[in-house]
Symmetry: C2
Subunit: 441 residues, 2 copies
Amino acid sequence: MVGALDFLERARILARNLPEMQSNLNFPWLIYNAYKTMVRRNVNMEKLKDDYFLTNISRRQSAHLQKFPDTKLINLGIGDTTMPIPKSITSSMVERADALSTIEGYSGYGPEQGEKALKDAIANTFYGDLGIKSSEVFISDGSQTDISRLQLLLGSSVSIAVQDPSYPAYVDTGVVVGQTNVFQESEGKYGNIEYMKCFADNDFFPDLSTASRTDIIFFCSPNNPTGSTATREQLAQLVEFSRKNGSIIVYDAAYAAYISDDCPRSIFEIPGAKEVAIEISSFSKFAGFTGVRLGWTVVPSELLYSNGFPVIKDFDRLVCTCSNGTSNISQAGGLACLSPEGLKSIQTIIDFYKENARLIIEIFTSLGFKAYGGKNAPYVWVHFPGKRSWDVFTEILEKAHIVTIPGSGFGPCGQGYIRFSSFARREDIIEASWRLKNLYS
Amino acid sequence: MVGALDFLERARILARNLPEMQSNLNFPWLIYNAYKTMVRRNVNMEKLKDDYFLTNISRRQSAHLQKFPDTKLINLGIGDTTMPIPKSITSSMVERADALSTIEGYSGYGPEQGEKALKDAIANTFYGDLGIKSSEVFISDGSQTDISRLQLLLGSSVSIAVQDPSYPAYVDTGVVVGQTNVFQESEGKYGNIEYMKCFADNDFFPDLSTASRTDIIFFCSPNNPTGSTATREQLAQLVEFSRKNGSIIVYDAAYAAYISDDCPRSIFEIPGAKEVAIEISSFSKFAGFTGVRLGWTVVPSELLYSNGFPVIKDFDRLVCTCSNGTSNISQAGGLACLSPEGLKSIQTIIDFYKENARLIIEIFTSLGFKAYGGKNAPYVWVHFPGKRSWDVFTEILEKAHIVTIPGSGFGPCGQGYIRFSSFARREDIIEASWRLKNLYS
């Protein structure tokens, strides 16, 4: 076979990879005698820290359950919804699924960008007065997918900023597409990312007067993990900052439905935002669709690259290249969420989770801790001064059998904090309150 | 605001981008007075040809319908399934969707890699004797997503080979992640991709003795678009070629269920393949899930990068970073497909589409054309010697009101061919036969 490599050529390629192989000699997974391909591991994947910290928490949780099999573990950790989806919404999915077994009701590929009826409903419900068009809405199977797709769109050459602390997906997908340098253990940061510090003293809103310019600013409000929500004035500052710098804001509004005061629910409420912002959102925390999978992204046609090319044209092309659309059954569910009846029943669930959040704040306040967030968000962010997050996590897990999230997993500024999720059943919140009182009073 | 750019700094950044802006001055979308960000368009997106050709076909189809509103257009174009999903399968989805409205039946986030029951069922049903473990199966919302995810995994530094012709997603996603050079109009190819010629004379299997070594080989069998299926002997050659070159095969088995002779249904039937291959597959064409969205990827733990690091570890990390799992309702449907009853009912539909393919072959053979594929695949690949694919496409659309796919869209070697899809209703196939007979006899 002429095309195949001869022995010498193969030896040459192996030699090229030798330094890399040697540097890994002490890795436990290296099986010396095994056949290896000659494909080099992606340097970006190599940069990515081994443990996605939420996976790490799952492991700790499983280990704890093995150690204490008779304990009732309460999960206030990952933001996983627990309340059933209102019947009017599941009925729509039932109907759609059932129709797929009939000649008249069967449908195959839908538009990659999503079904028009759902896009229309999203544009009307969430952006009715803001001038966002249905064609600027792209349906997906969730925000996590959209974040990685946006990163693929933007590519390796852009610089990014994130709130510190923030949801790890922005940083991790940035590492994967090659926007960052290696992780610096001493600082708990990847190189070439602007970490915008958010802590109690600045009301969890970054000091933009000291922030460096980046091409992209990931901004999540209501914030995960701090639960803080940017005011209209703060978001106006952010938009002004972006316009001056020619940056693009990727605005994560996944928790917007939890806002009950005057804070904006969409970045597009701020004048001038359409020329500098993309908004991603989701049915997960809004309607309990964490398992059903449905989200959306808004890319305004006014948003242009430096050469004048519309970002929406590239995003459309990318969506058509990387996906074949979102499940038609999930989309039927999404549409039902946005009917008057659907919206009303969803609000009941949101109110329920928010009452949970209020109870969590109450217990910690009564114990003398500072507890933030929870008002416009399903997360409560509690400060344990002088302690390290993972130590507090371990203490609460081992002594109160409650799973939480160590704040340091969201960025260096999360050190000393713990995130409590309110997506639990009421009896679990009450039981957790007792246990925490026992532990800390 | 100190952090924001002053006028001079902004002018400097704009100047840097000026050559790019000037080169685009004649673009129709350039709105001179509009605000532009200072974010440069991703060079990889710039390389990507504007028209995803399947989108182009949709446009042509819509235009034709506008021109001839009273015509019954028959779609033998994109491979979109038309037969309803068997009731036993939709019932499972109905049940799962309905249960989401109850406390006991509700479930939120599932494992990013997919539900264990479905992974077990896939491992048993498709890889029972081949030693593929459930933990090596990753569930997704379809092959298109998996292809782009694999490309993100492999990164911009790898070299790739594709069959010519082949499904455009391999090439397009390669362009997006930065593996290729610009598109060369004269050749109809992107630079830095090995296009492995497949035509009638080589039985649509590439001549590996003349193929250059690449890191990655995308290989689809039964092939889309040619409908040809690699034999056991041919796949053994491919595996040997990859082992000698240290390459990784990304094997697309989306049409494997259509094989009814001795051709392998999985690359893992070939000894030694686990150390050089990844397999992607889908419920779309197997069970009519084009709209429901469900697929899977197998990454054997034996597959190692040149430094000995297991590919599966990086893929697992990437799946957890870029997704929050696949719709639980779709997964319930997938599980039902793999029950004895589900498999039996699906086979009836596959046989139906294959009978359609046989009818398409019959009509073209009777008209004196050479028609390939169709035997182990839902696609028939018809040669129109001396003609250009888009001309034939236009002729068939305008004169017979049938939508097809021009072969040249799948690669330069597809020139002069047309792909006919058998995913149509029987009456449409029969009507199309009459029209084609009228046109070509």
